[in-house]
Amino acid sequence: MAETTKQDRGDVLAGRLPQSGINLRQLLSSQAVGMLLVLLLLIAVLAAFNPNVISPLNLRLILLDAALVGIVACGQTFVILTSGIDLSVGSMVAFTGVLVAGLMTGKGFASPDNMNLPLVAPAIAVPLAIAIGTLYGTLQGLIITRLKITPFIVTLGSLSILQGLALVLSNASPVQSLPSELRWLVQVRDLPLPMPAIIMLLVYFVAWLVLRYTKLGRYAYAIGGNETATRLSGVKVDRYLVGIYSLSAFLASLAGVILAVRLDSGNYTNGETYTLNGIAGVVIGGTSLAGGVGGVWGTLIGVLIMSVVTNALVLFNVPSMWHRVVVGLIIVGAVALDAIRKRQRTT
């Protein structure tokens, strides 16, 4: 090893290498920073037309609106990092909402009013509903990894299954009048931020730590970047994928419970838009649909951008029929952006 080869000019291999660079992308990818600027610019432009946009009340409203879809999108970020997708999260929100509401009120469960079911205390009903939702996610992960079916198909099936279960369990009508002990979950007054937003930020902070400091986080990037190479490096890829689909289901279940409390209703329509809006947030935030690149802070910003746009449509009196059209356009735009970024990365 003593001799120096012709090509070696020693230009880059000095004694020390910068070490801080590792994982900097996970902290704040340049894309996340870029999207933060877009968010601020968007707010500034909107505020120039309508100062109400930046009123404290409106900003809190935007955050509240972003909170639950944000929690869902956080789990989705992990899934998309592995180059998978979870289309079942919206239905999971509905399912767990109906489930938790039904457990606590004894209503619904395919047999209205006359069943005299024992009421389950919130302290048990909430963890139980979330556990059942998470378990479903585990099952999904097992089907994806063991039977080697693409996540798209498995979670598309679940989208229908879970919504169907929500319909069956609720007997197709809202399950209402949830116990008031849980109202603190959606408290807005007398707090620096609405409670759901606080929970969301907490979720993102923990998710960031998980991505940066745990094997699961590192392997999520590795699996999305090159699943074969990761497997051939001795990583138990299937085990981590199951964990990640469970995590996504867990966060969707958490959002489902909070949404049911917030609406005081478990309904099969809860969270209908969360899957699409959440994926949009992930992609706008710079996580590539091809996997391996991205992070949760970008998703947070992406979700906020979606929320600001929806909020602005309301403030500027755009008829609500148009909202979905706009959301769809943003999603297509974000995916196009992803394709362009990918081309730049590879050339």
Partner: protein, 520 residues
């Protein structure tokens, strides 16, 4: 359709250009970190076989990919049939009459020979939208018989052996009126008899005025079929000569630019105790009854033709593919290896043949790639110890002399040799007992190759057992203490150091030694 077979170039070549079918002048091409080609000249006459020689990474494939429209040249000019051309896509080159026969075929396995040959310009019944099968089958049979090969044009391509598939590729090229056929290592998967058949077809093509660029590693083939030979080294043309004026030794000298001992700095290390023993290992249809041992301090070369089961053997030992029967022993103890994770736990590492697809996570940094397999050892409970990770990665960057601006550099931007060192670092971080290298120097610059060889020697000297799979005989001969030769999924023989020679290996690899010649 058949003009290409009957009337050749007449009229296609304007008089002011002399007899050249193709002239490539001062072609240059740069990839990030690599000067792939520097001012390379290359030409070809109709009816000529021009052999292109050079080591892996010398620039042969790059030059041919530029000609075939797969890559774009940075500078230089290409004159084909008297006109300056620049192909932006492989389709453009094909339409102009340049066909490439790759090592991996581009046929569609479930379609018939006829369907493959006519894919994209099917014959119709008159102007109707109905396919004229009788006419297509007849014409396909004509093309095939013009090549003196007997293949039923109605059978699906997948039922044909490799050699016949290659003939179908050539027939397809002829059908598309190719004036120039690039053959990239056409004999690498063929038995000796099939090679003879191919050479007859090549002679037939020559007689019809088709120009052939023939890429090969096998020097003995040069004199058998070549008219002229061009040698490339490190992206530059060394020389172009009539084949009859050259000797094999001279060609080797031009290819490597240094003596064999300089190129393969083999340091024989004393053979230590047995580390790995494989007994009667089989995998249905792929590997049959394989037994051998590997010892600490030795490099066991694994040779064989493409498709002989070398990579499959590595994957089976590594747990990437299930084995049907057989037993693996490490340090004399029987072990169960059901997954790569088991193999890594037991101290086995595999540097795959295809770095980018199977070895690296290109979207991740150099540092994260190095730590990927050993991340479990770099944890403080459930938390990745970033400082320790960086220290370990940094150690390997320095001791393996990986040229990278920083640990956070995306590994995709490193050169082939440095990428290979990153993969090697990944395995060294797991502290392996056995390292399997599958084509360790494929796509790597000549200079970096020597570095990889030195690393392999160093690891063997440190007591590791090394298995080295290679298609390059000089590499196998130059680096191995012993050579295991495979043929059709079986061990054809194991050669001790003093028995290793090109002839010995080829005899075993082609199965000609014991009379069971490689027919399908």
């Amino acid at each position: 359709m058949m003009q290409a077979l009957s009337a050749q170039q007449a009229g296609a070549t304007p008089a002011n250009v002399e007899t050249f079918l193709l002239e490539m002048r001062r072609i240059s091409k740069t990839f990030p970190g690599v000067n792939a080609l520097r001012e390379v000249d290359f030409d070809l006459k109709p009816g000529e076989v021009h052999v292109l020689l050079g080591e892996n990474g010398a620039g042969k494939s790059t030059l041919m990919k530029i000609l075939a429209g797969a890559y774009q040249k940075d500078s230089g000019e290409i004159i084909f049939k008297g006109r300056e051309v620049s192909f932006h896509t492989p389709k453009e080159a094909q339409d102009a009459g340049i066909a490439t026969i790759y090592q991996e075929f581009t046929l569609i396995p479930h379609l018939s020979v006829t369907e493959n040959i006519f894919l994209g310009d099917e014959l119709m019944h008159g102007r109707s939208p109905v396919l004229n099968w009788p006419a297509m089958h007849r014409k396909a049979a004509e093309v095939l018989s013009a090549l003196h090969v007997t293949i039923d044009p109605r059978v699906p391509v997948r039922t044909l052996g490799v050699a016949k598939q290659q003939m179908v590729e050539i027939a397809k090229a002829l059908h598309h009126e190719a004036d120039l056929i690039i053959m990239d290592e056409p004999t690498s998967a063929l038995s000796l008899r099939e090679i003879d058949d191919l050479f007859e077809v090549i002679a037939e093509l020559k007689a019809r005025g088709v120009g052939i660029i023939y890429i090969s590693h096998h020097l003995d083939e040069v004199h058998e079929i070549g008219d002229r030979v061009t040698v490339l080294r490190d992206g530059q043309r060394v020389s172009t000569l009539p084949v009859k004026d050259t000797t094999v030794d001279q060609l080797i000298g031009m290819m490597v630019g240094r003596s064999l001992s300089e190129q393969f700095p083999k340091v024989p290390a004393p053979r230590g105790p047995e580390v790995l023993r494989v007994e009667n290992l089989s995998r249905d249809g792929v590997l049959h009854d394989i037994s051998f041992s590997a010892y600490a301090g030795e490099v066991l070369g694994i040779a064989g033709l493409v498709g002989s089961g070398r990579t499959e053997l590595a994957r089976a030992i590594f747990g990437a593919d299930r084995i049907t029967s057989g037993q693996i022993y490490l340090d004399g103890q029987p072990v169960q290896i059901n997954s790569p994770a088991d193999a890594v736990d037991r101290g086995i590492g595999l540097l795959t043949e295809d770095r980018k697809q199977q070895g690296l996570v290109l979207s991740m940094s150099v540092g994260n790639n190095i730590s990927l397999a050993a991340l479990g050892r770099l944890m403080r409970r459930f938390v990745v110890n970033h400082r320790k990770e960086a220290t370990v990665a940094n150690d390997y960057v320095q001791s393996l002399r990986i040229r990278t601006p920083s640990l956070s550099q995306q590994v995709a931007f490193l050169s082939g040799g440095n990428q290979q060192k990153v993969v090697l670092s990944k395995w060294l971080a797991t502290n392996p007992r056995v390292l399997i290298f599958d084509e360790p120097t494929r796509g790597i610059d000549v200079g970096a190759k020597v570095e990889i060889y030195n690393l392999i020697n160093r690891l063997a000297a440190e007591g590791m057992a090394i298995l080295m799979i290679s298609s390059e005989l000089p590499e196998i001969i130059g680096m191995s203490d012993r050579v295991l030769v495979m043929h059709e999924g079986r061990v054809a023989g194991i050669l001790e150091r003093d028995q290793i020679s090109q002839e010995q290996i080829m005899t075993l690899a082609t199965g000609t030694g014991n009379g069971n010649g490689g027919n399908h």
